[in-house]
Subunit: 286 residues, 3 copies
Amino acid sequence: MELWQVPLSFSRLRMFPFFDLAHYVASVLALKEQRGVVEVSIRSPLACWFSAMLYCFGGSVLSLLMLGEPPVAFLAKTINILLASSVWYLVFYCPEDIFCRCFSFLPLRLLVAGMKEVTRTWKITDGIAHADTVYKDAFLIMVAVGWARGAGGGLISNFEQLVRGVWKPETNELLQMSYPVKVTLIGAVLFTLQRRQYLPIAKHNLVFLYTIFLVVFKVKMILTRCSTSPLAPLEAAVGQMFFGSRKTPSKVKGESATSSNGSSVCDQPSEQHHEGAKKKQAKKTE
Amino acid sequence: MELWQVPLSFSRLRMFPFFDLAHYVASVLALKEQRGVVEVSIRSPLACWFSAMLYCFGGSVLSLLMLGEPPVAFLAKTINILLASSVWYLVFYCPEDIFCRCFSFLPLRLLVAGMKEVTRTWKITDGIAHADTVYKDAFLIMVAVGWARGAGGGLISNFEQLVRGVWKPETNELLQMSYPVKVTLIGAVLFTLQRRQYLPIAKHNLVFLYTIFLVVFKVKMILTRCSTSPLAPLEAAVGQMFFGSRKTPSKVKGESATSSNGSSVCDQPSEQHHEGAKKKQAKKTE
Amino acid sequence: MELWQVPLSFSRLRMFPFFDLAHYVASVLALKEQRGVVEVSIRSPLACWFSAMLYCFGGSVLSLLMLGEPPVAFLAKTINILLASSVWYLVFYCPEDIFCRCFSFLPLRLLVAGMKEVTRTWKITDGIAHADTVYKDAFLIMVAVGWARGAGGGLISNFEQLVRGVWKPETNELLQMSYPVKVTLIGAVLFTLQRRQYLPIAKHNLVFLYTIFLVVFKVKMILTRCSTSPLAPLEAAVGQMFFGSRKTPSKVKGESATSSNGSSVCDQPSEQHHEGAKKKQAKKTE
């Protein structure tokens, strides 16, 4: 295989079973880091399982709902459900927490996180292709479904929390978009433009470049333990150009400055940092 | 054209683009009057945009959901979305708020409000026709879908508010129906009865009379700055006859009495008055 | 008819109209026992009616939603809606509350409660059959739809409460499963296994035995005024075996012990007891 064939081969990669498995592991571990989940896993394994399924298959459920298809359809892929359920069981009920401890080993954590980001690209393109078969040439629907498919777990987080008895109406992923949700939206726009042939790039090259971008920044975020969004300058520019918002960019800049300089602030992994910020805000509004 | 032909010609009026545009303007301006929306528009333009789309297309979304069709289908009408998005942009981000100031000019405000009420009739009949093609002769489904299509923005207001981070579970449009929601319900019942040929009136005449009713009372409400519902006596009679409620009518009467006499109470437009009442109630329950 | 033919004849029993009627009566009476419903019935008969319909047809609505079919389809069975609406009217607006007083007569109450439990079996098997026609051989979907159809009113209780202006996010039927929801889940699993021919029992025999189980324990619960779940030992065993939870079984045992010994605790009917427990928990978290 020559070098220029790498993107093409990469774009033919199959997600099942290894990449899917990494997605389930990363998702369920992220769920376990949420406050109060361990108590829920003891009180009601069923609610915990359902929450875990929404973390793993939230994108499918949301995109099925949006396209008017049965939201239970995700349960039809029995093998995937069994895989995800096994991961859920091992994460929450493994004796002496062996499974979780394994995945706190940094190289393994990086591998899983990287592989999870690869599945994101595949989900976005799947969602866009699905929407395109249902609605021919409806640009906005393609973007919306691609976005929902790739970032579903985040977008339905309010209702996922409700399953666990948590309700935080004062925030949601539209009001305070997290980095994965933002980058998925950009990806959905890019892949839709590519599909409608507005971008002078072959699909497999875009898949390759976008995935490299996702993986590199995810790994960087874990290694530096900082949630500095690489999109902050772009957001600031767009915000200033279209919405005349002087507040937003300065705030974003300030945040990123703190994140990259103040190492005392950045001494925790990005998910916890993000979650911590949410908690603080929740407290303030309560 | 002779006089007796007016209703027929009127019923052939096309909503696109001018009446639709008036509906978008009136809806987005109503959204901007809600508490906290301007802050949301600065913090997260996307959440604000989504909220505005729910204000403009809430009826479509709700009726599509009720009929098991893809709720994203409303995004397929690209032209309408572009129109509504332009209105949203101008209302929220226009330099020096020129757009909003224009529409605080009373004659223009009356025109837009009147045209918006015209679209209501069209939506109700569209919804009923749509339901009739899916479920032959299901009276209740026709009423429900016609109502949802005409008053959708109100009926889903709890979830529209959730997009903006606001959650008021203690009230909803079923518990405290506002005048537009009530009058749309009556319209949905009348048009369904007409369609099933229980009413001795031609469709175009009913369309004409109902729209005149809607527009006249809307204009009167804006001019008198009072939210006196013309339906209060009807409600009182029905409440007393069927539900033996002596409380409800007296309360409604009292409210309408205050509204028509106490000019100090009625010194704000109806939407704000209604919103103010909601806020008071929200405070009480908090 | 000989004795061995009883299950077969029983399984051919038609639910309409008498068993359906009993289901509506029991459901609407259970709704009226909820805190604050009587005030809602005075303030907004429409919200009260919609709440009652969700109590009566919640299972249909939820299973239709899950299978991507129009959730309003339940309104198409006009006769059933009229029956349920008549029951709702009589329960809430009957002069001097005659209707409710009749059904506080114990033998009548037992009859209605028993007949309601019979409809549960029919709903579970209907739901499973429906799911099987849409998704061939998808075990989990059959269980999920059967469960949703049989216990729908409970599973959507958070959203049913929202109609009445009540919001209790800290609890739901997945976090704290009530006995009817649990037993319906077990039934859905059993009937799905039977349908997939993993159980060495004919369908009519399983229907007969499961219904007998439901009715006997329901009657026992009403007579002893205790909500001791006959499933507690099973739960404890499963909890200890799979989820290593020493807390859960001890708590369940403790609860059942209190229920069977301490007669002072058990002096109220099971629904009220359950509701009372929920209220306490709600207070704690508020």
